[in-house]
Symmetry: C2
Amino acid sequence: MEMKKVILSEDEIPRKWYNILADIKMNPPLGPDGNPIGPEALAPVFPMNLIEQEVSSERWIDIPEEVLRVLSIWRPSPLVRAFALEKALDTPARIYYKNESVSPPGSHKPNTAVPQAYYNKVFGIERITTETGAGQWGSALAFACSQFGLECKVFMVRVSFDQKPYRKSMMEAWGGKCVPSPSMETKAGRDILEKDPDTPGSLGIAISEAIEAAVSDETGKTRYSLGSVLNHVMLHQTIIGLEAKKQLEKIGEYPDIIIGCAGGGSNFAGLAFPFVYDKINGKEIDIYPVEPVACPTMTMAPFVYDHGDTAKYTPLLPMYSLGHAFVPPPFHAGGLRYHGMAPTVSQLITEGILEPKGVTQLAAFEAGVTFTRTEGIIPAPETNHALATVFDEARKAKEEGKEKVILFNFSGHGLIDLAAYDNYFSGGLKNYVLTQEEMLNSEKVFKDHPKPQLLKSR
Amino acid sequence: MEMKKVILSEDEIPRKWYNILADIKMNPPLGPDGNPIGPEALAPVFPMNLIEQEVSSERWIDIPEEVLRVLSIWRPSPLVRAFALEKALDTPARIYYKNESVSPPGSHKPNTAVPQAYYNKVFGIERITTETGAGQWGSALAFACSQFGLECKVFMVRVSFDQKPYRKSMMEAWGGKCVPSPSMETKAGRDILEKDPDTPGSLGIAISEAIEAAVSDETGKTRYSLGSVLNHVMLHQTIIGLEAKKQLEKIGEYPDIIIGCAGGGSNFAGLAFPFVYDKINGKEIDIYPVEPVACPTMTMAPFVYDHGDTAKYTPLLPMYSLGHAFVPPPFHAGGLRYHGMAPTVSQLITEGILEPKGVTQLAAFEAGVTFTRTEGIIPAPETNHALATVFDEARKAKEEGKEKVILFNFSGHGLIDLAAYDNYFSGGLKNYVLTQEEMLNSEKVFKDHPKPQLLKSR
């Protein structure tokens, strides 16, 4: 019997994270006056030990023992050969996936939630605030906080809060608190509710609320935590790709193509960055971040300086952005409904090292159902977007008769997102495409910025 | 860092199941006339290759390659040392759990669903019917059928069907069909609905419907599948205990105490039977199946011949039973709401080899929440019952100052059962205790049997 999984033992978990900042040159974040900010500007929001990671350019950063202890609840995660899927697609490609759905909350998110909770604890912080869209990040942070005895407060985008009551239950099971956003607890929330009491909310609004709740705590014992976009988040996620490299080495394989879905960029970067290092050093690999065509940050938006949140509490970050006021259409992949993209991922796109792809919601779910009925695991709606591109590449390999090695990130399972599958099976799911007018409206916000901020036009 | 998990590689998956029938003497099943039945009596219900396993007394039975291929999607499952839980309970006991929640549907159930689907396929069957309570079994069978290209039809107890819409979605994702029971599709269902249109349904009724739907298919291409109770189901589940033995050997441990929750008995038997073999051969081990006090089959019911279903379609089986018409109170562990107990488990209880325990719902959830906030994984409500007894034994070890080795089965995660946790956190959960009157009523059904069938009174 051919082995399906490549398994590492606990003592093979990587001991260091890979920091892409050692290998690329980035534009600095800017303050409200348009000038570069220093680390101290972030101190009210994040603990200083995490800020140091955010700006570090050391290539390898040690993973603390206490973090490894918690990661070992589910890590190393399996690398799996998708034999049944290959057969169904009748492709000569060999398809591997890194199964990040095996964590307790069911996704890759705890890879960064755990170290973030740890560094906050070490810094003397007692309470962390955050936002969550679909709920994967909020439940991951609640899980991580329970491991280090921290309080956790989650602002959850209202439309998801109402559609996914089980996500709140998960957070509560781990001892976290979850409120729908916009809420009356913050000025940012109250301002929005006053204008539009029935707003479905957005990730940008929820981030504003969570930051405000952290910085306004006068005891100084509260900080904010972000589940994607920032450099230290990408850093923590590289454990995925570092493990995958070891696993592929064990069976003498190396990928031709790497694929991951990208909302803020973290699961994609986690798998891809250790291979980006190889590509920078001469390896030939095609690396594809995948987004929904209904939120086309990487494939259609300009590369600009923009805020990470609606209320403009964050610094200006150099990234592809649809504008911080952009509210994407209500497709079923909450984790991909974000206006921006991680600055590191954005930078690598401008340099041509990454080639973004866009897929439709229906193509994503079609691929997800085929995966469910072949490989046996029900993917999260976000993961389905990566799958749609895997299918495209597997078919291309067939047309070209090439034995390509495809590696993708199975970022999460869909057991808490089954309503989306119901909707798909009942024919209620449709494709959203952004109109030119919506694109133009979304770009208008950049005009408010302190300086002309277009880094690169399309 | 101490290693938390003991991991086996795929080529260490056991190649044979352990059959307890080689080592205990059983009372035979009886037909409606009160006489022992032969294998041929079961032929309309099950394929003959599975019936042969049901009656086999060979100690070791080969696991087919095609079954191993599918099991390897998630097996071998991890054996985990519960360091954080030990610390929280301040116990000298070393606590290990076999994590069966890592399968795609989230429980131990696919361990038997996969071989059952396989043997049906090999026998030329095209469609399998079954019942499900909480939904774990129905989704496991839908998953298994999708792997072998079989149709799957699930009759789901109505109260669960209404409370847990996501279970139906899971079955559909794998291509299965799920209807609430009682339904109008069978005579058994119509009879019940005529008397009581608002019945919440029961596992006994759903079994009757699924059997009727199988045997009444005139093409002869449909069979029925049961997720617990029967000998071949226990056989397939022994892969759990056989793996656990290998894993404990690797670290030089052997259990003093084995614990599993028991509804029909299959996850418990799967972990325990390979160790029961050792106990029969002289090892000293305490082995505890755990049930809810609200459905006290093992701890209060008589050892009798009784039917497995409400409509009396099944043969009379020798087991502890609350009576085939018994409807348990609506506590939150659907998998433990069954009137009977596997004949093999029942037999071992009468011989004093197993010592059943009963726990309350609130004690179960209290233990489950502590586990969630220490070990990090949210348990299924059924699994919480095993945990309550683990907690009792860990505390006893502390009082006695003994370094006991406790092994329990983490039979499933609770991600689809979060409504139960909501209920617990909001204070809505209560304990049910069966009254003497309810016990007497439940026993009356035995009077209808063709012979006096009391095998052993209490």
